[in-house]
């Protein structure tokens, strides 16, 4: 879409909205938000980017393929479940580390799992949408 206003707006908004998606990801295990919501926001930002600057530019900006994002997200989610075993509990049992901090509240395996969900949602959405835009 060759619209100057949209291009300038997108350039400015993309980093802000991506930051917001990460904010949602980090607080999600304790407050409204989470990996799924964060991943959806991140993917909608990148879809906007793709509509304005084209699919090729988006792929270049991403550096990794969306499918790899999906794979690594799934792997991280499974690994976060395995931690429970190695700590002596059950699969997917939550384990917390360190002391309380702002926004994140606590570091632990639920955050890791959320990160996996975030990447999986982002990867899946981008794989679908970018393919659809390319074929249209």
């Amino acid at each position: 879409m060759r619209s100057l206003i949209l291009q300038v707006m997108t350039r400015g908004l993309t980093p802000l909205l991506l930051l917001f998606s990460v904010y949602l990801l980090l607080r999600g295990h304790n407050s409204p938000g989470g990996g799924f919501a964060g991943g959806l926001i991140a993917s909608s930002v990148l879809v906007l980017f793709a509509l304005v600057f084209g699919v090729q530019e988006t792929r270049k900006a991403l550096r990794v393929s969306p499918l790899s994002l999906l794979v690594s997200g799934l792997a991280i989610a499974v690994l976060s479940g395995l931690v429970g075993w190695f700590e002596g509990g059950d699969f997917l049992q939550a384990w917390w580390y360190g002391r309380e901090v702002e926004i994140i509240h606590h570091f632990g395996t639920p955050l890791l799992f959320d990160l996996g969900v975030y990447l999986t949602v982002l990867g899946a959405m981008l794989t679908m949408v970018l393919t659809l835009i390319e074929e249209a």
Partner: protein, 504 residues
């Protein structure tokens, strides 16, 4: 980590991890295949371990994430679940190895292995979960994976079959979800063991009876019970052999398993009504499946209709609701999974040899491929119930159970359907193998290289040996089935494993 937690979760984690690995290795065909084979073998190993653990303990459970039942999700295995996981892992390995010889490289590149492992994960999850809503989730996992497996490749017939498959199964899922909601509003719990306890105290009622029938419809669609089976014969013959073989072996049996769980553990407050409905459905399923098969002209279509008719026998064992009946049903499921998977693989081999599995276009295989002919006879006759093969004992067990409670009509139907099954198997036999092929034009065998011959025939021979072993030495499986039936009728082990002593 404790061993119960490991052995109950690994049947889901191993296929999931393998699926991720094969997706990551999608550009490297050889590495992808190695990962797949490792996953199948590992799953089989864990399944054997699970069976041993369950034989020692009666039933074992793990509260996922450490949230205790009935609030969290429980994974639980009694003898039936452990047996089902073992046999589906074995089918995964057999069909998986077979698929390595027959799949097109594009199909493998587009995620066949990943989806296959996701399917196995869904199947195992369904067998192990102790939570009704979680069961719905595993059904969806299976449905999504199987829908893509059916349509992958995008040929016209595949899309048509896939669409029918998807539509009817989604309908089943919706009914399932709705009835889960109703049940929750009535009982306040979805943990199956807890449901048993709650309904034991409060008794049934018209509303709960309605919910049980809704769930019967939902599981009936998955299990292909009369009159909800039409999605099965219209879709199972469209995808590649390896896919339809694993579908034929496992997917409908997950529905039967869910029926058995629901109507032994949860809805037992009005057995006279619900189980006589089941008995009617069983008889009609048997008869309509076998009659449908008679008019079909291709190997896989005939076999698809026979899945439907065989489901009837399993539901019949459940409907009798006696120790002998349930034991017969469990025996029947295991026998059927092995035999039906094998028959689909053999159908695939016929198609691979002749280039078609239409009976009008093949013939004279007994002279061209005598080994294949012999291999067909073993599961074929076993399906029809000829002694001393496994099918004889399976049919014997359910029919004897029906005679014990004087259910003469269903026994007569079961015997007659067995006879018609023999007719169908002989039709395939005489058309594909026995019929002379004088012009030698119908079927010109395509030569196969050694690797694809080993991968093609190896699993078929192994499954045939399993059929013979069950037939000649039925005691092990019969004992295990009887022990499962005891646990189903008196679910003390199950309840203790899930809820502990406190809630009972």
């Amino acid at each position: 980590m404790n061993s119960a937690s490991l052995v109950l979760t690994l049947p889901v984690v191993i296929p999931l991890a393998t699926a991720i690995l094969t997706l990551a290795l999608r550009e490297h065909r050889a590495a992808q295949r190695t990962a797949s084979v490792t996953g199948w073998t590992g799953l089989l190993g864990v399944a054997i371990w699970l069976l041993i653990e369950v034989q020692d303990a009666g039933a074992i459970a793990v509260q996922l994430g450490g949230w205790p039942a009935p609030y969290g999700i429980t994974f639980v295995a009694d003898r039936l679940s452990a047996l089902m996981v073992l046999v589906s892992a074995a089918m995964g390995l057999a069909v998986g190895l077979y698929s390595l010889a027959g799949l097109s490289p594009e199909r493998e590149h587009h995620g066949h292995h990943t989806l296959f492992h996701v399917l196995l994960m869904g199947v195992n999850g369904s067998f192990l979960t102790g939570d009704l809503f979680n069961l719905y989730v595993w059904f969806e996992v299976m449905l999504i994976a199987s829908f893509v497996l059916v349509t992958l490749g995008g040929r016209r017939g595949q899309l048509e079959g896939g669409l029918k498959y998807m539509t009817l199964n989604l309908l089943g899922s919706m009914i399932f979800l709705a009835s889960v909601g109703f049940l929750y509003s009535q009982t306040g719990t979805l943990n199956m063991a807890h449901l048993h306890v709650v309904l034991d105290e409060s008794g049934g009622g018209t509303l709960l009876l309605t919910i049980s029938v809704l769930l019967l419809i939902a599981f009936g669609i998955k299990a292909a019970v009369f009159p909800l089976f039409m999605w099965l014969p219209t879709s199972y013959h469209t995808p590649p052999t390896a896919v339809s073989a694993i579908f034929a072996g496992l997917l409908t049996k997950v529905g039967v398993y869910a029926l058995i769980r629901a109507f032994t553990l949860i809805f037992t407050f009005d057995v006279g009504w619900t189980h006589s409905l089941l008995l009617w459905l069983a008889g009609l399923t048997m008869a309509s499946g076998v009659l449908g098969a008679m008019v079909q002209g291709s190997v896989r279509r005939i076999l698809s209709f026979h899945i439907v008719s065989q489901i009837g026998y399993m539901v019949m064992g459940l409907a009798l609701y006696t120790l002998a009946g349930l034991a017969g049903a469990v025996f029947y499921i295991i026998h059927h999974i092995v035999v039906k998977t094998n028959l689909f693989l053999i159908g695939g081999l016929i198609a691979r040899v002749c280039g078609s599995a239409e009976l009008s276009r093949v013939g004279g295989l007994i002279r061209k491929r005598p080994l294949l002919a012999g291999l067909f006879l073993i599961p074929g006759l076993s399906l029809a119930g000829i002694p001393p093969l496994s099918g004889f004992w399976a049919k014997f067990a359910v029919i004897k159970a029906s005679l014990e409670v004087d259910a003469w009509v269903i026994a007569a139907v079961a015997l007659a359907v067995g006879l018609w099954t023999l007719f169908s198997m002989m039709k395939i036999w005489s058309e594909a193998f026995w019929k002379p092929d004088p012009e030698d034009e119908r079927c010109v065998p395509v030569p196969m290289d050694l690797a694809s011959r080993v991968l093609g025939y190896g699993p078929v021979i192994a499954l045939a040996l399993v059929t013979i072993a069950i037939g000649l030495y039925p005691a092990w499986l019969a004992d295990h089935a009887a022990a499962s039936a005891v646990q189903l009728l008196e679910p003390d082990d199950y309840l203790r494993a899930v809820l502990g002593e406190a809630l009972r």
